[in-house]
């Protein structure tokens, strides 16, 4: 009989090269844009902006980032403390520096304060840090487009 269909043994394939190219491009893009250092940036803090605020190069040696919320609480790492509890946190940081044979004056205290935080709170934080012999302070601002 001649009605029997012809069967082919070839498998159906499709070219995956463009998809793999695209995938690698995406992987590389996300790898390059990922910055673990930004973990210190807390979304709760709305920084004041300044047209003069440019990223610091090279980064500070021994930075201690203190984030001050609009309710005048201080966030250090993952810990949130009132200003009255900051001394013990800074004493811990100081002890960590001493383990590296570094004086507190080698550390840089970075203050990321919310734009609505009270100036008195920021000053009080500086005073507490000064009483523990920290000397270098920087105030952080968000870059403003001119």
């Amino acid at each position: 009989m001649f009605g029997k269909p012809k069967r082919t043994s070839s498998a159906v394939t499709f070219d995956m090269t463009p998809m793999i190219d695209c995938t690698f491009q995406l992987v590389i893009f996300f790898m390059l844009t990922l910055n673990f250092a930004n973990d210190e940036q807390n979304e709760m803090i709305r920084l004041p902006s300044s047209e003069l605020a440019k990223p610091t190069e090279p980064p500070w040696e021994f930075p201690i980032t203190l984030q001050v919320t609009s309710r005048n609480m201080v966030i250090v790492g993952s810990e949130q403390v009132p200003i009255s509890g900051l001394r013990s946190v800074l004493q811990r940081e100081r002890a960590a520096l001493e383990r590296y044979n570094r004086a507190p004056s080698h550390a840089t205290v970075i203050i990321r304060a919310d734009r609505y935080a009270k100036t008195g709170a920021v000053q009080e934080i500086i005073e507490i840090a000064q009483s523990l012999k920290f000397e270098r302070f920087v105030l952080r601002a968000k870059e403003k487009e001119v």
Partner: protein, 164 residues
Amino acid sequence: MPRIRSKGEGERVTFDMTPMIDCCFQLIIFFMLSLKIFASEGDFSIKMPVSKSEGPVDPTQLPPIKLRMKADGSGRLVALTMGTKQLSSSDPFAELRREVRSIIKDDIGPGSSGSKQEVELDCDANLQYQYVMRAISAVSGYVDSNRQIVKLIEKIKFSPRRQG
């Protein structure tokens, strides 16, 4: 002549790419989830020595420009005074920058009057921090027409804290 055919001729060598593609997608998902988009940030150094008596006093140091910033009950700026001069324009920070530029006369760089000059911020305790940053920004410099930052005064400090 009879043609000698190798055993493997005509067979396509393929390898299974599924694990690699799985792995790539896992990586993409990881990086996508850990991506956070933040505006870039910059720092302003403030000079807060632990003790005033430490070290010799620099004879070339000019007396500090005192900035007094008064706040209302809600922390908004109500008055900005530079020395004895009240800055009362609609934009006191622009006026402050003009005043600083007139004092410094754009004399900047090492050994210049800009490097010898110091600013002391005397603020009410309940003043919103954003005004302090605007004042620091006004005295620290400006962006010129070529979008370059021109630095004015880099030595900035706070007065002793006011109770409030």
